[in-house]
């Protein structure tokens, strides 16, 4: 677990990958959840992560969002280390200050939305810009109303989350994350907790993001059709590792690995 790799202080290249996992390890006690993960994501790329339950998909996003510490390796964002910081010419684990500086580039949407229940939709969106970015309220309101408009929630902007359906809450959550102007957006099974009839309204918003914004996106999903439609690349996770990755046409049309084939046929049968 404590394998020592010589990681560079910065990733060069023109341009460097927007996100780079280098030999990333994560374990809970003796349970290894991410096993020496290497993954580069280019700026503007939409990468989907698929795989069986417990294969470490959520963990990848949580580590990138710095919700928890990794046990080994380094994650870089935009060429600069996220989980570590340079000190005396070496990388050491990041402190809170470094994390807060570097985390601004990343936004995340959760399976269960996690909206703030005591704030209205608009207040949820304005919270980050006003409190964290120090933006003035009128400016933040304008930005957030524009985003709520984009996700089709402007007419519900003064409602509290408890008055909104799951699909509506998730669209507000997407607007809330976008209000911070992240370079990288993470989606963790954002449609899994939704009733089937409202899944479309959320996937439509994500489609719009892909076509109209130059965001880098990493999405964990169980919706194979959706992943096939919008991804530039699909990663199939198995046991904390990337078992196979490639363009959607390859992964869904002509998977090479047996585990990928088994997983996909099991998923198809379930439908």
């Amino acid at each position: 677990m404590t394998q020592s790799f010589d990681h560079p202080l910065e990733i060069t290249g023109t341009p460097p990958p927007m996100v780079s996992f280098r030999n990333v390890c994560k374990a809970y006690g003796s349970l290894v959840v991410l096993d020496n993960l290497n993954l580069d994501i280019n700026a503007g790329e939409m990468v989907s992560i698929i795989g069986p339950s417990g294969s470490g998909k959520t963990t990848v996003l949580r580590m990138l969002m710095t919700l928890e510490q990794i046990n080994g390796g380094v994650i870089y964002v935009d060429g600069k280390p996220l989980t570590h910081m340079p000190k005396h010419g070496k990388l050491v684990p990041a402190n809170q200050r470094h994390l807060r500086q570097r985390r601004v580039d990343i936004g995340m949407c959760f399976q269960h939305f996690n909206l703030f229940p005591h704030m209205t939709a608009l207040e949820n969106c304005m919270e980050g810009p006003v409190q964290v970015l120090g933006m003035r309220k009128p400016e933040a309101r304008a930005r957030c109303e524009e985003l709520l408009e984009m996700v089709g929630m402007i007419d519900k902007k003064d409602q509290h989350p408890s008055r909104l359906s799951g699909g509506q809450q998730q669209r507000v959550a997407i607007a809330r994350a976008l209000a911070m102007r992240p370079k990288v957006m993470l989606f963790d099974e954002v449609t899994s907790a939704l009733d089937p009839e409202v899944i479309g309204e959320v996937t439509e918003v994500i489609r719009k993001l892909v076509s109209e914004h130059n965001l880098t996106m990493l999405m964990v999903t169980h919706q194979m059709g959706f992943a096939r439609d919008i991804s530039d690349r699909v990663c199939f996770f198995y046991g904390g590792k990337i078992e196979e990755q490639g363009p959607p046409s390859q992964i869904f049309g002509n998977p090479e690995r047996e585990r990928t084939q088994q997983f996909l046929s099991a998923v198809r049968e379930a439908i």
Binding site: M108, F110, H112
Partner: protein
Amino acid sequence: MFDWKWDFVWEIMPRLLVATGNTLLAAGAGYAIAIVLGLVFALAQRGPSRLLAFVVRELVEFIRSTPLLLQVFFVFFVGPQFGIRLSPWTSGMIAIGLHYACYLSEVYRGGIESVPRGQWEASTALNMSTIQTYRRVIIPQAIPSSLTGMGNYLVGIFKDTPMLSVIGVAELVHTANAIGSEHYRFLEPLTLVGLIFLAISLPAAGLIRLLEGYVRRKLGM
């Protein structure tokens, strides 16, 4: 029949009303201390310093497991031996405020722990600091589930103010006792004090329920 004297009642009423003011003041000031200090104790137990968390945890346990009366005596009588000479009022406020701060810190802790983990994660994803997260996200949501406990302890602190009579704070029981000794009549003053406590406690409990509902609605819960 009782030997109840109405003219005696009217005679002592002004003194009892002043004492009621003192009781309310003691309860209010003690509660204000407890509310703030309780939050400090609750946060310290969740803070980054293991040592501080341990010390505060032990202190809270210690205070919760010893009688308030003993703590009142301790602050007032033992303090001077260490050169800390405090008035009855100051000693009383420290003792009762500290005592109830410990109970309230447990209420807050419960409230804070009842906020789902996803709220912390969403706050981190918005890059909020720990302090911002507590102030803007966690504490506002911890309040509704803490209100019942907070209300109960407000009534509790009010009913415990007579403990301060032992060090000479002129609250209701102290005053009733003084009147009784002066006139050799205890029936009227003590009965009146009981009625005054009842007349305040009962409506207060009702008001607290109303306030709870109001705050919950206000927070959109």
